[in-house]
């Protein structure tokens, strides 16, 4: 499979069909594994990294899950292509900085992506649409079981799977979900939620993981600890917390509709106006405004069939996607122009927001109040 195929198809998780997909954009589970008696990638010399790569890459490519896969050495990808993969969450920002001695292998559906010689020898990740942490775990767990019969993984009976960073030792598992929480942000309750989540040992981060800003009202929630708890227990705990946050988000939206409807319609109207008529837009502004339009679709102010074009814009307006699709390197100013143009074009067929269509109970699956009290 070629890089152009990846560009052409958005990947399964982008189509947004999973459970609770209005609020949970995607679920990801990754496992970290290392080979015994070999220096971790960050400490290994180039020759040893290459050796490890040659041991691992063929085993990954021959996985049944990786038939018809995209497999590339990092030095053969351009900076722009690497950035596209980062924007799709298929490789980490850290991996994008790698070159000789590292590789990435992913399946056509873009539900499984395996990084070789990132911080650990192997980082296997499954990404699904909506809240599907369990099925994401099932897939990487299966891949891990196949690989362990062919590769000698570093494992200690007391500490579990051994990883370059002590924060990952044990299960080597990081499970995370990307949540879209405009209701909690608009009603200024999101910090309370973040604090509560932090208190119970889970981490909340911005769009691109550690140390990144929350843009577009998108938040990543993940487990912080990996030792002393079973994989299934970690995932159950995380799923329960996410379900609670989904409820809180639905409640916040209902309160906004009932008590602050003018603010809400003002936000949606302004977002629609700016996106439809602006001629220059940064990716941060685009994300923040698209988030409000997405909320509008959730609430019924825009027809449901407008959901996919909005979801696609979240990714297509990211800097690397923009440049890749225009097939040229653009400076920041040119990017902002092109971004505004793409958004204007796609919104040309978009109807005006219609607040009369907004149901008090917005037709979502987690009913927070009984109808017709």
């Amino acid at each position: 499979m070629k890089f152009s195929n990846i560009m052409a198809s958005g990947g399964e998780w982008l189509r947004g069909e999973g459970p609770h997909h209005q609020i949970v954009v995607s679920s990801r589970v990754r496992l970290a594994r290392n080979l015994r008696q070999r220096s971790f990638p960050g400490w290994a010399k180039k020759a040893e990294r290459t050796q490890v790569l040659e041991l691992i890459k063929p085993r990954v490519e021959e996985l049944p899950e990786m038939q018809d896969s995209f497999s590339e050495l990092l030095q053969d990808l351009s900076a722009l292509e690497k950035q596209v993969l980062v924007e799709r969450h298929l490789i980490s920002r850290e991996h994008a900085a790698k070159s000789v001695g590292s590789a990435v292998v992913m399946n056509r559906r873009q539900t499984l992506s395996i990084m070789v010689n990132e911080e650990d020898h192997l980082r296997m990740q499954s990404i699904r649409s909506g809240l599907q942490l369990k099925s994401a775990f099932k897939l990487v767990d299966k891949v891990d079981s196949t690989l362990e019969s062919k590769l000698d993984f570093a494992y200690d009976s007391k500490l579990g799977y051994l990883t370059a960073c002590p924060t990952n030792v044990g299960t080597g598992m990081r499970a995370s979900a990307m949540l879209h929480l405009p209701g909690l942000v608009l009603s200024e309750m999101v910090n309370q939620v973040i604090q509560a989540v932090n208190k119970i040992g889970l981490a909340v981060r911005g769009l691109y993981g550690e140390g990144t800003e929350a843009m577009g009202n998108l938040f990543q929630i993940s487990n912080q600890t990996t030792l002393g708890e079973k994989e299934e227990d970690i995932i159950n705990r995380l799923s329960k917390v996410i379900e609670t946050i989904i409820e809180k988000e639905h409640d916040a939206r209902q309160v906004l509709i009932q008590k602050k409807s003018n603010t809400l319609w003002d936000q949606i109207g302004r977002a629609y106006g700016v996106l439809t008529f602006a001629h220059a837009m940064t990716s941060k502004e685009a994300l923040n405004l698209l988030s409000i339009i997405k909320l509008g679709v959730d609430l019924g102010a825009f027809p449901e069939d407008r959901r996919l074009p909005i979801d696609e814009l979240f990714i297509d307006t990211q800097p690397a996607h923009l440049q890749k699709s225009s097939q040229q390197k653009l400076n920041a100013e040119e990017r902002d122009e092109l971004r505004a143009q793409i958004i204007r074009d796609r919104l040309r067929v978009f109807p005006k927001p219609d607040i009369s269509k907004v149901a008090r109970e917005s037709g979502n699956d987690a009913a927070s109040e009984p109808p017709n009290q």
Binding site: N34, L35, R36, Q37, R38, S39, F40, G42, W43, E119, D141, D144, S145, E148, S149, F153, A154, Y155, D156, S157, K158, L159, G160, Y161, L162, A164, C165, P166, T167, V169, G170, T171, M173, G201, A203, E210, G211, Q224, T225, T226, L227, G228, E229, K230, E231
Partner: protein, 142 residues
């Protein structure tokens, strides 16, 4: 636990470029992490990969899987502070499954052998000894 990405200017300002003045391990793993690992093995070097505790102090990462043994003393309290528990209770690789199974069987056989010898049941002891030898051969990778 929080990871911080610093630009060139900020890192200069915060003295990140001077490895003696700043422990990345502290930043990555929490204050005191670098000190903790130093406590365990002040001059130790990993026999497999040559990693030292000062390398850990600089990077906040270990050199290879054997480092977990080399620096186990300092790592112990670090892991305790960092995680829910100190022992892995999750997935076992099939290989580990098999090793546990074999070592359990070995223990049973050894117990039975001792009993047989004590009872002066030499016939059964001889058979048990053979089984133990066979198992030992299975446990040592060829």
């Amino acid at each position: 636990m929080q990871k911080v990405n610093l630009c060139d200017a900020c890192s200069k300002e915060k003295g990140v470029q001077d490895p003696t003045g700043f422990a990345l391990a502290d930043l990555l793993l929490g204050i005191g992490a670098a000190e903790e690992i130093e406590k365990g093995a002040p001059t130790q070097k990993c026999p497999v990969c040559g990693f030292t505790q000062s390398d850990f102090k600089k990077t906040g990462r270990l050199g290879c899987s054997a480092c977990y043994v080399t620096f186990s003393e300092g790592l112990g309290s670090l892991l305790k502070a960092m995680h829910k528990g100190t022992e892995h209770v999750g997935k076992l690789p099939q290989r580990a499954h098999r090793e546990i199974e074999l070592s359990d069987r070995m223990r049973t056989l050894t117990d039975n052998l001792q009993k047989a010898v004590a009872d002066e049941n030499y016939e059964s002891a001889a058979s048990l000894r053979d089984q133990i030898r066979q198992l030992e051969a299975e446990l040592t990778p060829s």
